[in-house]
Amino acid sequence: MTRKQRRGVLIGTCLLVLGVAVGLVLYAMRDSIVFFYTPSEVTAMQIAPGQRFRLGGLVETGSVVRGEGTTIRFVVTDKSKTLPVTYTGVLPDLFREGQGVVAEGTLAADGVFHADNVLAKHDEKYMPPEVAKKLKEQGVWRGDAKASAGEPQAKVN
């Protein structure tokens, strides 16, 4: 094999692998991407029943109802619109009323969001950044004030 042929084999293999990779990425991008919406966005736009998306917001205080077996109903709010959610399974540790939550699933024709996954939060101070942003925009954000209240004064030595 000449030098030129060797280089040809190398470049050819590289292009082949890269081509396959780009094809796979584009194909996977089409089918396995999930959008994130808040209840306001869900009510504002037409979402086809059966389309998967993530719903983010706060669990409305007093809305959690336990149904048959391990089924749970609650309402997600972004302080302007609300959306009822039903979920069957074990809720994450930090699922609380009034706290941030992200649920993944589909919207049924009756307007109820059927979640098959409620995301666990690692920290009770955590709030989905999208929700925090929304709350700030609507002027109901209390997170920062709460976090700094009652803490002793910090000073640099």
Binding site: C14, L24, V25, V34, F35, G69, V90, D93, D123, V156
Partner: protein, 661 residues
């Protein structure tokens, strides 16, 4: 007083790092021996100073000195000692100090053990290390000072996030950081070579042990993180393709490629430019991992930093180092002479294929991880790219590599014989096929791809064994001859075989667990029984219990199989008193067959509890395989050749021992 000493030591370390960065670089430029000689002692002094700061912080934690804000935020009196210590790096500021400590440790190691390095190379390497240390020390001192005082000092701290109070997680960050930061050595050597405009096989021989050590630690660090997520988060899964996991997985993939391309460079003096680029990419990915995890761009257990100034600072550090390195590469790389030629079918060729596939797989993960961030920054649309994307892209790209792995070590350098290698692998292929057919025949359910995956794992393990068998001439020479050869085989050969076999073990573990796991979510009342994977679980009830710094409600399950008692499972829900938050502790019964895994959920309205049960067959193999890979790396690292370091003329040495590797 101790906190002030630590703070002072950090600032001194910053000053020393700046000296270490500037003087040797000038010295190397004007060939001044004395200026270049500053590098070594400066690196050692910098390490001592950072170590003082680290010990000061640890002292504050162990003695629960709540006048230090960082301790107050992340510790509490009632916390067990282990978690007081691990609390040092269980927060943003402390973890950055640990990062710099490991960086300084690597620099000091080069200064101490690099006596036979060419002076100019050593000076340049330490100068680059100094510049990285200076950037991160500046970051700590200006935006993340862990020694800020509180006045008045509170009586008790706020405690550490309960999910972090766990033995595996206590050691996960040090290993992960040693991996991340260890790649800085390869980076520094690459930059030094570019500054010099000169590179040879001795360079690769110097870089390899550092890269190998870093790779080993990263492997173990990732495995520990995955293990922790498995038993602590209560989802029964071992890998979620979470952006934070990807942030550590990408440097691992690039580092694995680097490890293999450095072999080609050392043995055959080829792929020089590529190896340099890969060294830059690997450390860039480590920096990016640090940025993604620490900047708060991603929300997760790792996102301690919410202060945007920190994110921008790390982004700036990243921009300077990655941009600078790539610019230097574009400018100087054409100066580096191209080395040995090789045919496409050869050991070099197989390692090129390895690099090609690993790099593409890495790029696919990269796109999936960063696309949502880029899209949100550009259009404001919020999306999440989940496991389906990664399974669809990563798996097909890595599959050909797994098939090719056993061929590589059996091909000769320069020009290999694929047919001969295939003949030698006949036994391994037959074994893999036999296992495949057996599994296919006895499989009751699960995807048809799963037996193929198991066959692939067996193929990897048997292929690794084949290489050893042929190198010791097990069936050709007499037993005593084979034994003699076995003992004389270089340790790096054992290392390679172990690491490749470890990969096979991981593959089997992942495939079996994914394909045949059983899951059940039930509402159970005390007295109820449940069936899963041949086990019968009798729910006895829930009792309260008091731990050192938490209260918990423990469920008791009696597990029987075929009427015989196997074990008792006690999953619990813990409520941490100081931190006022809870964790779920899974009850796990490990066995070679698989893990029986139970999680206690909330109490339902009719007095029942929601219970989640899993059976994860052969899941232990995933971590056992990773451990095998780590051991393989360690065995290879102990090879005499790497330990002794480089002779002055490595090319002639390589020519006299063609059989090595």
């Amino acid at each position: 007083m101790i906190a002030e000493t630590g703070h002072y030591a950090l600032i001194l370390a910053l000053a020393v790092a700046i000296v270490q960065m500037v003087l040797p670089l000038i010295g190397a430029r004007i060939r001044d021996q004395q200026l270049m000689a500053v590098a070594g002692p400066a690196a050692q002094l910098q390490f001592v100073l950072v170590a003082i700061a680290f010990v000061a912080l640890m002292t504050a934690y162990v003695t629960s000195d709540f006048s230090v804000e960082n301790v107050w935020r992340n510790s509490a009196v009632a916390k067990p000692l282990l978690y007081k210590i691990s609390g040092v790096w269980g927060n943003h500021e402390g973890s950055m100090v640990l990062w710099v400590l490991i960086l300084a440790l690597f620099g000091a190691a080069v200064a101490t053990f690099g006596a036979n390095l060419p002076h100019q190379l050593k000076a340049n390497v330490l100068a680059v290390q100094g510049s990285i240390a200076a950037a991160f020390l500046l970051f700590i001192v200006t935006t993340s000072n862990p020694f800020i005082r509180l006045d008045p000092a509170p009586f008790d701290g706020q405690g550490l996030n309960p999910v972090l109070q766990d033995p595996a997680l206590a050691f996960h960050p040090p290993f992960l950081y040693t991996g991340y930061v260890g790649f800085s050595m390869a980076f520094s050597f690459a930059i030094a070579a570019l500054i010099d405009g000169r590179i040879d096989a001795a360079w690769a021989r110097w870089v390899r042990p550092w890269t190998l050590a870093a790779w080993m630690c990263l492997t173990l660090g990732i495995a520990m993180g995955s293990w922790w997520a498995y038993y602590e988060l209560g989802w029964g899964g071992f890998w979620f393709w979470d952006p934070v996991e990807n942030a550590s997985f990408m440097p691992w993939l690039a580092g694995t490629a680097l490890l293999h391309s450095a072999v080609v460079m050392e043995k055959r003096d080829a792929l020089k430019v590529w190896t340099i680029l890969l060294a830059i990419i690997t450390f860039s990915l480590s920096l990016m991992g640090t940025f993604l995890v620490r900047s708060g761009v991603l929300t997760s257990v790792h996102a301690f930093a919410i202060d945007p100034a920190r994110g921008i600072f790390i982004l700036a550090i990243m921009g300077v180092f990655i941009g600078g390195a790539l610019a230097l590469f574009a400018w100087r790389a054409p100066l580096l002479a191209q080395g040995g030629l090789f045919a496409p079918i050869s050991r070099e060729g197989s390692l090129v294929l390895n690099n090609l596939l690993l790099t593409t797989a890495w790029a696919a993960v990269f796109v999936g991880t960063l696309y949502p961030l880029a899209l949100e920054a550009l259009t404001g649309d919020k999306i999440s790219v989940g496991p389906p994307f990664f399974n669809l892209t990563f798996a097909p790209l890595i599959l050909p590599l797994l098939i090719a792995v056993p061929f590589g070590p059996l091909l000769a350098w320069k020009r290999g014989d694929l047919l001969a290698a295939a003949q030698r692998l006949t036994a391994a292929a037959c074994l893999a096929l036999a296992v495949l057919v057996l599994v296919l025949a006895f499989r009751q359910r699960g995807p048809w791809l799963a037996p193929l995956g198991i066959g692939l794992g067996v193929w990897l393990i048997a292929g690794a064994a084949t290489e050893l068998v042929y190198r010791v001439k097990l069936f050709e020479a007499s037993w005593s001859e084979a034994w003699r050869r076995l003992r004389n085989l270089p340790r790096s050969a054992y290392g390679t075989a172990l690491a490749h076999a470890g990969l096979g073990i991981v593959v089997i573990g992942i495939v079996v667990t994914t394909a045949w796991r059983s899951e059940a979510i039930l509402a159970m009342k005390p007295g109820d029984t449940a069936q899963i994977a041949g086990y019968t679980l009798a729910f006895k009830g829930v009792v309260p219990r008091q731990g050192p710094n938490y209260r918990e409600r423990v469920a008791l399950f009696e597990v029987t199989r075929n009427g015989e008692k196997v074990t008792e499972l006690t999953p619990s829900k813990r409520e941490y008193t100081v931190e006022r938050s809870g964790t779920t502790e899974a009850g796990i019964h490990p066995s070679w067959r698989g893990d029986l895994y139970a999680v206690l959920g909330d109490q339902l309205k009719d007095g029942a509890y929601s219970i989640r049960l899993y059976f994860n067959p052969l899941v232990r193999l995933i971590w056992l395989g990773a451990l095998t890979m780590f051991i393989g790396g360690a065995v290879s690292l102990s090879d005499r050749r790497l330990r002794i370091g480089t002779p002055r003329r490595a090319q002639t040495k390589a020519a006299t021992v063609p059989a090595a590797e």
